[in-house]
Amino acid sequence: MTKFWQLAFEGFSLGCVYALIALGFTVIYRSSAVINFAQGSMLLIAAYLISWLTVNEGVPFFVSMLISIAMLAAAAVGFQAAVLRRVRRMLEQPIFTVVMITIGLSITLTAAVDAIWGPQQRLLGDPWGSSAVHAAGVVFNWDKLWAIIFVAVIVAGFYAFDRYSRYGLATRATAADEEAALAVGIPVMRIHALAWGVAGSLAVVAGLFLAGFPNSPNPALGNSALLAFPAIILGGLESPLGAVVGGIVIGLVQLLTQGYEPGWLGNNFYEVAPYVVMIIVLLIRPYGLFGARPVERL
């Protein structure tokens, strides 16, 4: 049973990180109907940035985290304003063209990380390292506990912002109907930029915890964002609540299948278990657990 609780804890913590990545996807999707394929490379660059500031430049860890958040948020807003806004202005904008642009961004960022810092793994420079709390036979690594605490605070903050601030209201209005939002005077473009800024900040925190003990900032981190795909689909692309629930479910599913997969499923079934869960859910609810069935008019 200890093994179960240990795996459940690790799965929950990993799921919280997936939830952050998924939230990053959802925030952008809600505002502009685009899945940002560069989310993975954004968290990769964030992990390297924190590592570089902390280990090479001697900046205190939390300060480098804040600097990285500021830099990535600014860069993401800049990208939205300089590149995506131009595409959106064009008539007949093909939806997947914008997705392709984010793929282009992802290719560039991943190569840039390799070019700047090389392919070697690095030290993150976090203060908690391998320290842990032991309780009831289960080991709680501080890195993973902090991941859960951070995600809880961020999700609560996000909810409050979304629910009670003017910008939150404007974001939801834009998500519901962009033209109507424009008509009532909502600065839709600013809302889109805001979404990218939020996604950039979320990527920093997600990258930070993915690269924490026992991992390290290494080029493979970017691929982890792929596992947030089943999470967002599970929850429904547009639902922040769905992203969080989906992320945690996927984390738990992955770790528990990893620990208990039966031999007849072949090797490494846990790699695809999140996708299997996703497909089963979609066959029952084609718009995810929390997604709304669209009302279509001719």
């Binding site: 904008q93 070019a115 795909f229 490494n268 996703m278 979609l282 066959l283 718009y287």
Partner: protein, 364 residues
């Protein structure tokens, strides 16, 4: 010859086509050995891209699972060609048929899903397929990978390394043989798609892409149309995969990955969705450009000092995708349309609209 045909041959479009084919046929004679192998990868890739063009470009169903069907084709070719010693004239089409069958089996799952939901579910298909490849050692070689058969038509037409073909003093080597085989299959694929786009089924596909609900109200059988698009697309993917595996000679299950799928999607988007030639132009950019950039004189090849050629070419490639699509979201074919006075793409029509495709889940 009718006057209309003469007129047609003289049109800039027909001239462009003819010039394109002449260049494609003469190309290997001016290329170095290294460039020739890149050109072969481009031609083989173009076959798969033309296939994806049917599913995504014409029918509007975004698929990131294309690499899975390539893998199915490659392994079919390997099992029939290497394990059972079939002739290439049989295992190449068989690879397409088996992949098409897989498309037929998977397509119904996709019927209820739209837009980006489908895109992500096809990523799931890709990963699950990879897991099946990894666990099916008898035909994929398992995690260790396997060798793929060399194309062999007869004892006098064998594509093995070191063999050459002489036609009127013009020598074609191993890479060249694959290049021309790829080119012939590509020509047939283009002809097929060009015809398909003018049939009832082709027009149904475009109607589904433009507005699914409207299409179904008009009496188009959505399920049948989408399944047909999946089947055609996976058939070409299978052929492409069989040739790719054979030309590469060795692959591991991990090679049929998301990166490969994304390359094909990039090819059709960069080339221009919903056009016949778009995927071919896109394939040139996606599979050829990186290599061209790497051979630029100012890029240091020996890995000493400065940025590595791979990083440099990836960065330039990424920036080009972004820059180009911002300038012309309809791709290279859209760029072409800007410079000719002819009405835009007769078979094409409008591309996808986010408000209808992506945002349709929001209550109106």
């Amino acid at each position: 010859m009718s006057a209309a045909l003469v007129q047609r041959v003289r049109s800039p479009r027909a001239l462009g086509w003819t010039a394109g084919w002449v260049v494609a046929i003469l190309l290997p004679s001016v290329l170095s050995e290294g460039q020739e192998s890149t050109a072969t990868f481009v031609v083989i890739g173009a076959i798969g891209a033309v296939g994806l063009g049917v599913l995504t470009g014409y029918a509007g169903q975004i698929s990131l699972g294309h690499a899975f069907f390539l893998g199915v084709g490659a392994y079919t070719g390997a099992v029939l060609g290497a394990n059972h010693h079939w002739n290439a004239i049989f295992w190449i089409p068989a690879a397409g048929l088996v992949a098409a069958l897989c498309g037929l089996i998977i397509a119904p799952t996709a019927l209820r899903l739209r837009g980006l939901y489908l895109a992500i579910v096809t990523i799931g298909v890709l990963f699950i397929g990879q897991d099946i490849f990894l666990n099916s050692s008898s035909w994929t070689g398992g995690p260790e990978g396997r060798e793929f058969p060399i194309v062999h038509f007869s004892s006098s037409l064998d594509f093995a390394y070191g063999n050459t073909l002489n036609i009127g003093g013009y020598t074609i080597d191993h890479n060249g043989l694959y290049y021309y085989l790829g080119l012939i299959i590509l020509a047939i694929s283009l002809l097929f798609v060009w015809n398909l786009s003018r049939t009832r089924m082709g027009r149904a596909m475009q109607a589904v892409r433009e507005r699914e609900l409207a299409a179904s109200v008009m009496g188009i059988d959505l399920a049948r149309t989408k399944i047909a698009a999946f089947v055609v697309s996976s058939f070409f993917a299978g052929i492409c995969g069989a040739l790719y595996g054979s030309f590469l000679s060795f692959a591991q299950p991990g090679d049929w990955d998301l990166t490969l799928s994304i390359q094909y999607l990039a090819a059709i988007i960069i080339g221009g969705m919903g056009t016949v030639m778009g995927p071919v132009l896109g394939a040139f950019v996606v599979f050829g450009l990186a290599d061209v950039i790497k051979t630029l004189s100012f890029v240091s090849q020996n890995g000493s000092g400065g940025i590595s050629p791979n990083d440099f070419s990836s960065m330039v490639y990424g920036v080009l995708i972004i820059g180009f699509l911002v300038v012309e979201p309809r791709g290279l074919m859209g760029l072409g349309a800007r410079f000719t006075s002819r009405p835009r793409r007769r078979g094409g029509g409008a591309t996808l609209d986010p408000r209808r495709e992506g945002r349709q889940f929001a209550p109106d």
